[in-house]
């Protein structure tokens, strides 16, 4: 299991190709699970989380395109229509602005909608409701009307889906006061954070990743318990280290762990932080780690300008400037719309080699910037 390459079949309508995935070798060691761990995929984690929360609270309902009879565009909501019926699992027409607003209005009246966007790119058609009707309402109404809604769906680049299907919206939504923005990586993250999001009385943007849906992670019995949830606003140290801190979220956490393995062979011990929560950002954890390692590499898949890494860098400059021994390295996607050609797409998103190079730079193992084709 450790270090084995796995063939994972692409999932969902947009991915027709086979992906090779490398299991992060150090993950199990860091987690300290009980030996006889069970494994579940992120997809199963999300599905069971939705199932359990709908079972526990009858005011939770799902709304989105293809969530019902199609069993979910990416099969996340599989089986839920049969179990809960069409009153609670609603297939909508293609009307993002309309059904997002309907979800917000229902939340105003005390229901707990989970609105699915087929990808977060389509959320742009509904962004007025996410921000103006949902995020700002508790404030505008001086606390009279809270909005216990969850907006979920795949975010960021997939494989070969082109510019309009590949954008990462973490920075966009994390910019707005009144929203909570979560980005799970592992199955445990997916279960715990989705349950927390559904139980939360405020609007939560839940950024999943299509390429992680099929990936398996070991989970403890605690995680599988139906009362399990994770706190919002707390990051997780995926791997302890002492030489450089690497912050990441979503799929990039896996890449960071692979990079950490490579770096450890060179004598650089990297600490990998899985942010889990983009807003609120766990500044305390990030700063505590940087104060220990004195070097920081921020990692994200989205566009670099005004991104998550820029915010993390500023947070560290504000709170831990004297502790920095090197400039903060920012790894982000290329500042271009996502190209279609496979080799260009590889260039447009961070690869493990980029992370390794950045960490070396931060540790003064001077290797000049060089792109690989």
């Amino acid at each position: 299991m450790l270090g084995a390459a796995r063939r994972q079949l692409g999932s969902g309508p947009m991915l027709g190709q086979v992906l090779r995935r490398l299991r992060p070798a150090s993950a199990d060691a860091a987690r300290g699970y009980a030996a006889a761990g069970k494994e579940i995929t992120v997809r199963e984690a999300l599905n069971t989380a939705l199932d359990e929360e709908m079972s526990a609270d009858p005011s939770v309902f799902l709304m989105g395109e293809e969530v019902g009879e199609y069993q979910g565009a990416y099969k996340i909501t599989k089986g839920l229509l049969d179990k809960y019926g069409p009153d609670r699992v609603l297939d909508t027409p293609i009307t993002e602005a309309g059904f997002t607003g309907i979800g917000v209005g229902a939340a105003y009246q005390g229901l707990r909608p989970v609105i699915e966007f087929m990808t977060f790119n389509f959320s742009m058609q509904a962004i007025d409701h996410i921000i103006n009707s949902a995020a700002k309402s508790n404030y505008m109404s001086a606390g009279q009307i809270n909005v216990p809604i969850v907006f979920r769906g795949p975010n960021g680049a997939a494989a070969g889906v082109g510019a309009q299907h590949s954008q990462c919206y973490a920075a966009w939504y994390a910019h707005v006061p009144g929203l909570k923005v979560l980005a799970p990586y592992s199955a445990e993250d997916a279960r715990g954070l989705l349950k927390a999001a559904i139980r939360d009385p405020d609007p939560v943007v839940f950024l999943e990743n299509e390429l992680l849906y099929g990936e398996s992670f070991p989970v403890s019995d605690e995680v599988l318990d139906s009362s399990f949830s994770l706190p919002i606003g707390k990051a997780k140290i995926e791997r302890k280290g002492k030489d450089v801190t690497i912050t990441a979220f979503s799929k990039m956490v896996g890449y960071a762990l692979q990079a950490a393995d490579i770096l450890s062979k060179e004598g650089i011990s990297a600490e990998v932080i899985n942010l889990r929560s983009i807003r609120p950002l766990d500044r305390a954890a990030i700063n505590a780690s940087v104060r220990k390692t004195n070097r920081l590499v921020t990692l994200e898949e989205g566009f670099p300008q005004h991104g998550v890494g820029a915010e993390i860098c500023m947070s560290v400059v504000e709170e831990s400037f004297e502790y920095l021994d090197a400039p903060v390295e920012r790894i982000a996607g290329a500042d271009v719309p996502m190209p279609y050609a496979a080799n260009l797409e590889r260039l447009a998103v961070p690869q493990v080699e980029d992370i390794v190079r950045a960490a070396r730079r931060a540790c003064y193992r001077a290797v000049p910037l060089a792109a690989t084709a």
Binding site: R31, G98, I102, A106, S141, R199, P231, I232
Partner: protein, 424 residues
């Protein structure tokens, strides 16, 4: 009075011609109807209005048009009168306060449209919801939000209905089920559809039923909004899921300076209802009794679970789009035509002619409202500004995430609460 002297006549004439069996009613009917003796009718139906349904609802033919008013009791008439006078006086006071610098930002006044707000909202119960636009002061007042709370909100004081956080365009009142106050046109329509969805969900899934039927939601919006995508998305979904909502179009012919006729390929908005399978009704929005009759039918339909209705109210705003609008594009003859159809004057005339109340009683209502509005201004003036600490309050209902436990503390602080393997 000839309706031909301004551009609205172009689309109103075919509407008039189509009324119940192609008999053109006397149009404009308000002035004429108020002079007719009251005719008792066996049961109030959609009279003096135009109701056309698609083939889907072919069974529900509209009653033949007649320009008479249905019966209204003295108490009802006085309630309607008082509500409209409150709306008018309040808005006039807002204009005064704005020019004195007490009120600021964007202020959009409702003068002239009172019949729509009063005609619809006075039929609602407390659990019914109202969703409005930025022109929401009078919807708030009709729904029961105290005048002093609205005025204090407009002054930006801590005693306002939203403690000064929302302002003129964002009136929210949870106890009155006033769900906003939205600045973007069309924004309130999906939210209203969602509130109607919640009412149906409560009834069917949560099995919480009220004695009267489903709680109804009213969505108020203007003619400009009817060209916006969200409007059509919600007409579709509301009818698809048979939601208890009434879409109330306050067609005052102007969207800031854009005439409805310049902006819309087919200006007859009521026709867009049947295109989605719901009844579309056109009503004279300057006549509160006609509006009320249509409203009753539409609200009852929704309550019974028969689904949405689109009601187009022909109305007019006597002032500009907002207090910053110089209002130069509207012609004086159009303005005077509608000023002659002032809903308050019409109702007053009707009440006196039907001997429902005396002139003196109406004057005393006006005096009472004057006092209410004066008191509201004094209250707002005397109220404090919000404390500085209010700046950071209420961003989240739960700042720490995932809720407050039964002991009243944040769950994430409970040591026994499962934290998985997170290193917190």
């Amino acid at each position: 009075m000839a309706a031909a002297s301004f551009t609205a006549a172009k689309f109103l004439a075919p509407v008039a011609a189509r009324s119940g069996g192609d008999k053109a009613p006397s149009f404009p009917a308000a002035a004429a109807a108020s002079m007719r003796p009251l005719r008792r009718r066996p049961a109030p139906r959609l009279s003096s209005v135009l109701a056309v349904s698609s083939d889907v609802l072919a069974g529900n033919k509209a009653a033949p048009a007649a320009a008479a008013h249905p019966a209204v009791t003295r108490e009802e008439a006085l309630e309607l009168y008082e509500d409209m006078v409150l709306g008018r006086n309040f808005e006039d006071m807002c204009a005064q306060m704005y020019y004195r610098g007490k009120m600021f930002g964007f202020v959009h006044l409702y003068n002239g449209q009172e019949a729509v707000s009063t005609g619809f909202i006075k039929l609602l119960n407390q659990p019914d919801c109202v969703v409005s636009t930025y022109r929401d002061h009078v919807h708030a007042l009709s729904k029961g939000v105290p005048a002093r709370s609205v005025m204090a909100e407009l002054f930006g004081k801590a005693t306002g209905c939203c403690r000064g956080q929302g302002g003129s365009m964002h009136m929210f009142s949870e106890p009155h089920n006033l769900l906003g106050g939205f600045a973007f046109i069309g924004e309130g329509i999906p939210v209203a559809t969602g509130a109607a969805f919640a009412a149906k969900y409560r009834h069917e899934v949560l099995k919480q039923s009220g004695p009267d039927g489903l709680d109804v939601t009213l969505a108020f919006f203007g003619d400009g909004t009817c060209n916006n995508g969200q409007f059509f998305e919600c007409l579709n979904m509301a009818q698809l899921w048979k939601l208890p909502i009434v879409f109330v179009v306050e067609n005052n012919l102007w969207a800031i300076g854009m005439s409805h006729l310049r902006a819309t390929s087919d200006p007859e908005i009521w026709k867009k209802g049947p295109a989605f399978g719901m009844p579309g009704v056109h009503v004279d929005g300057m006549d509160v009794l006609k509006v009320r009759e249509v409203a009753k039918e539409a609200i009852d339909r929704a309550r019974r679970g028969e689904g949405p209705t689109l009601v187009e109210c022909e109305t007019y705003r006597f002032r500009g789009h907002s207090l910053a609008d110089p209002d130069e594009l509207r012609r004086p003859d159009e303005k005077s035509h509608y000023a002659a159809r002032d809903p308050i004057t019409s109702l007053k005339k009707y009440i006196i002619e039907q001997n429902l109340a005396s002139e003196a009683e109406l004057k005393s209502i006006e005096k009472k409202i004057d006092d209410v509005v004066e008191e509201a201004v004094e209250f707002a003036d005397a109220s404090p500004l919000p404390p500085r600490s209010q700046l950071l309050e209420n961003v989240f209902a739960d700042p720490k995430g995932f809720g407050i436990g039964p002991d009243g503390k944040y769950r994430c602080e409970d040591p026994k609460f499962t934290q998985g393997t997170a290193q917190v």
